[in-house]
Structure formats: C-alpha cells, structure tokens
Symmetry: C2
Subunit: 239 residues, 2 copies
Amino acid sequence: MNVDLSATWQEASRVTLRGRIAVVIDVLRATSTIVTAIQSGAREVIPVETPEDARLAAQETGADGVVLGGERGGLKIEGFDFGNSPYEFTPHSVGGKTVVMTTTNGTRAFAAAREADITFAAALLNIGSVANVLLHEGRDVAVICAGTEGRVSLDDLYCAGALIERIVTPGSDWVLNDGAKLAVHWYGSNTGTSFDVLASCAHGRRLAELGFHRDVEFCSGVDTVTEVPVLKGRSLVSR
Amino acid sequence: MNVDLSATWQEASRVTLRGRIAVVIDVLRATSTIVTAIQSGAREVIPVETPEDARLAAQETGADGVVLGGERGGLKIEGFDFGNSPYEFTPHSVGGKTVVMTTTNGTRAFAAAREADITFAAALLNIGSVANVLLHEGRDVAVICAGTEGRVSLDDLYCAGALIERIVTPGSDWVLNDGAKLAVHWYGSNTGTSFDVLASCAHGRRLAELGFHRDVEFCSGVDTVTEVPVLKGRSLVSR
C-alpha cells in the first residue's frame, strides 16, 4: 500500500485521489475543532469554502439547530455563532446541531479531497483512532496537510508524521512518497513535545499573538478523542 | 534578515519576492546542469518554460553558437542538441555558446522568481560559493525549490537545508519560515551521504530507472564548482 502526502491542499489538487482514502489534517485549528465538535455530539459538520457558502448552506439545510463557525485572519466571521476555537464547540453549544464551518485553509482541504473514496478528519487529538481505522481499511492513503495559505506548515507535517509512523510499522509493506518520508523524519527526529512544535511554528506563534495560546495547547493533546469524523456527502459525521 | 523557503515553484508563486534575493534549486537536474554549463564556459543559459519557447528564443537570439537543451519526462526533446544531463555540457560542447534550456520543473522555477531583485542558480555543486555570495549581500533570501511536478522533492529540500545551514550560523539574526526550518532539520539530522539522499528520493530513483544513475552521482558532488550563475535580463550568466 502507498502513503502519499501533500504538504498543502494546493499540492493535493495535483494528486489522483480516486480509489484512495484521504486524511485531511489542519491541526491549527480546523480539524482539531471539527474533531472536537463531533466528539461533543454535533449531528454533522459541513465544511465549506467561503463565508457566503456557509450562509447559503445554513439556509439550504433548513434544519433546526444550525450554527455557523469559522474564521478569516484567525478571527470569528461577522454574524457567525462561533469562531474556530475548539473550546467553543462544547456538548452544550453544538450537541445535536448542524455546524457549518469555513476556515482559511482547513475546510478548503476537504474540497481538495473531493475525489477520494473515503475522507477522514484527523488531528493530534484523534490520531490513534485514525491510525486504527487506516490499518483496518488497509488501502492506499492520501494524507492532505492543509498548510497555511499555500505554504508548508510544520504543525500539520508533525501530525502527519505521527500518524504515518503509527501505520508504517517495521516489516509492513507501505511505500511512502517524498512528502510522507519527510513528515516521518520531522516527527521522529523531533525532540520537543507536541506543544513545543505547535507553539514554535509560524501558525502557532500567530495564534498566540491573537490571544489563542490556550487553543494551541488544546490542539497539542494527543489521543484525547476517539471520534474519527468521516465525510458522507457534504457532511462530516461520526464514523 | 529572513530566509523564506518554498518547497515547490508553485508555492513560490504565492510569495512576495520584490526586494529579495531568490535562489533557485533543482538538484536533479536543471540547476546542477546550468551550473555545470556556466562552469564549462557557456556565454549564457536562457531558461524558458516550453520547448516551443526554446525554439523561439533560439531564433530571436540569432547569435552564432546557440544550442538547445532540456527534457520532458527526463528524456531529451526531439530536435534538441542536448538533454538535461550535466555530462553533456562540457567546455567542448557549450564553451562560448548560448544554451537555451527548458525542463519540467527547474526552468519554470526561474519564471516564478521573476519579481526578485537578484536571482541565483544553486545546486550542491556550487553551494559554498552561493552561501558566500548570500552572506556578502546580507539581504532577505527566498529559496525556491523547484520540486517535482508540484510535489515536494527531498533532493531539493536537502540542498536548500545545506545552503541555509551555511548562512544561518549560531548567533546570527536570520529568521527562518517553516519551510526553511524544515529543510535545515532534514539536512542536519540526515545521517546518509548526499548521494544516499539523492539516490533514494523519488526523483533519483526515477532517473536511475531511465539510465541516468551517473547523473545522480554527479549531482551529489558538493562544492565542486565555484561559479554562481546570476540572472541578467532573461539570461543566466557568470557572476
């Protein structure tokens, strides 16, 4: 089996995803927040590309209990219920509800994954559960790091490396592309904690400047969530 | 000063290059070949995007001694004088001549560097000389790895890491973006030789399959060339 990693969602748009399982990673913060929302009992999370798409999707859904979440420039979008902080997505605030989300990088990565057979959302929070699902499926995997505005992002690559290391055990016959090898090397030879890595990368420092230091800490948690959100139609739901 | 690294030329097209020095790297094989051609006494190397552009540029140049070089799918283009193997660009074959080059990734990276104040061509072959020039200039640097068809390429990232490590000495005030940090980590924590890295990356294995094993070996050479080709107008010339 193959593991093909794209370091940005823009890079992923050049990859053939048909027949593969896609794993979308945006540690700071979209997939960490989506994983948290599903764990908190949200009925579904609908990732969309723009704030306008979000408002349209909310209208079309027409269901009771639709909430809007997301960010631009790291901050909550005007008129939205929530920003992109996992702390906002509690059982009380999103339990049983439909969450429509738009973020600068992460939700667009789900659009780039459109062609894949199955698409999962992964973060450090649920990495062990995602690894178990991938090992159970035993099929070619395309790891799509969201990146930050088209640039390689060390937080996403770290999470991807941690995930790949858990599935590519010694003696297994997985074949890695250059990006996947790089991620495993970055994760495996990194002596810091997950928080050290997230807090020192460009995106983590930016979030701290915006006052989201606690979010960076939260997103550094490893194996704190068992849910593996999976895309069904346009919605991410509990697997 | 800042070092901003793009892992593919497509990523570089999102970067503001005005006011910066761009360093284009395509170890396998475009910049290794260009560096070799200039060292062999070529008057100039004109990097262009397509085979058609190459034929037009050769006509426009109208100079005596214009030769065409480059590849598609790793192989020499029909009607061209040379492929993309550094072994072809000897003092005998290109000395005093204009070389018009088009390759799948590398020559396009020079187009992506268009906005930069100064653009240099770098490979492992001339890495020490490039580092000296950058230290002398003391200005913001944008390292543009060509990548391979839009994908991150471990050979380019290794060369970039080696270059950045030579300019970012302990105590210096260089600030690195995520991509530059990753390259330094990949280079610095890699225990293999430069040949091991180039031979094991996807592009190196592909070239070996095509019969270019010796080219991979040649391009692994470190500090074998003193020339630093610089872009003047549309031509790369001896600095």
